[in-house]
């Protein structure tokens, strides 16, 4: 009927899934991680400096 909750690892799992707030924390972690990654990626892209002047043919310099 129940998991082998006498094992600490399962106790941890139980605590993990059953404790109010912890779940929210996990979700928060996920989301936070995602957001930071995205932010960093954007920064990474934006910050790209390039020496060679001959740029990609687009956008056109008119």
């Amino acid at each position: 009927m129940n998991f082998p909750l006498e094992q600490p690892i399962f106790q941890f799992f139980y605590w993990l899934v059953n404790t109010p707030g912890v779940g929210a924390g996990v979700v928060g972690l996920l989301v936070g991680a995602a957001i930071t990654t995205f932010a960093l990626t954007l920064r990474w892209i934006a910050s790209a400096k390039d020496v060679e002047q001959e740029a990609y043919p687009y956008p056109p310099k008119l």
């Binding site: 009927m1 059953n18 109010p20």
Partner: protein, 242 residues
């Protein structure tokens, strides 16, 4: 550890519905308007209904007919599906095996009502109302757990409520025992439906105590559970007719 349990002897139950109303008066479940009631929104934590629940053509022809009646409080499941699916732990099983509902926590997502195979969880579609003077008879008992209201407290609109085995009565009994400076005994409290049962069909007590009436009855050959296949390990026991 105490494990509260109810046993209902369907042979002695005469479908009088005393339990339904006793529960209403004890737990302040509101009377909804006739239209609401017709639309399946009546709130009776303890309902009495004819069996089979669903009218089917193949249920015998006169005079070879047998109607049965059943009564149904919360099953207070050991593996309660409602508790599992609650996203905010507004409903939970306490240390004495009672499945409880925290009205201040419930977000009204109605997942528990979906998960419950017994349909014993009720939703406040509108603000509960007592017309004019009817409000006078509401049960004044206020049970709060760490500040959040439970039990008979009048529910706000949009939250789920359910049978609590009259947990506030338990708390009162314990308080009384404490005040009188003695140990609380399991037979000091019964829910309102058990107390009022006209057929003396309901028994209540501690399932962990092998000598209690409910433990004895749980060994009966007639003992059975509602929807045992639901996997919820319901605790409320039935003694079959005949």
């Amino acid at each position: 550890m105490t494990d509260w349990c109810m046993v209902i002897d369907l042979e002695k139950c005469v479908a009088c519905q005393g339990c339904s109303i006793a529960c209403r008066m004890e737990n302040n479940t509101p009377v909804v308007s006739p239209e609401e009631a017709k639309n399946g929104r009546a709130i009776r934590w303890n309902d009495v209904f004819p069996l089979p629940v669903h009218i089917a053509p193949d249920q015998g022809e006169y005079p070879n007919v047998k109607t049965h009646y059943s009564t149904r409080p919360c099953m207070h499941c050991k593996n309660a599906p409602c508790v599992k699916v609650c996203p905010v732990q507004a409903t939970y099983i306490d240390e004495e095996g009672i499945v409880r509902q925290n009205y201040d926590r419930c977000i009204g997502c109605r997942f528990c009502t979906m998960a419950c195979p017994y349909g014993v969880r009720y939703f406040n579609w509108f603000e509960p109302q007592w017309e004019e003077t009817l409000a006078e008879y509401r049960n004044p008992d206020q049970l709060s757990v760490n500040g959040s209201l439970e039990g008979p407290a009048v529910r706000p609109v949009g939250v789920v409520e359910k049978c609590t085995y009259c947990v506030h009565r338990l708390e009162k009994a314990k308080a009384r025992a404490k005040a009188e400076g003695r140990d609380f005994r399991a037979d000091e409290y019964v829910p309102a439906c058990v107390q009022t049962c006209t057929g003396k069909a309901r028994f209540f007590g501690d399932l962990d105590d092998p000598n209690s009436t409910v433990s004895q009855l749980s060994k009966s050959l007639r003992a059975t559970h509602l929807l045992e296949d639901s996997g919820a390990h319901p605790k409320t026991l039935y003694l079959a007719e005949g």
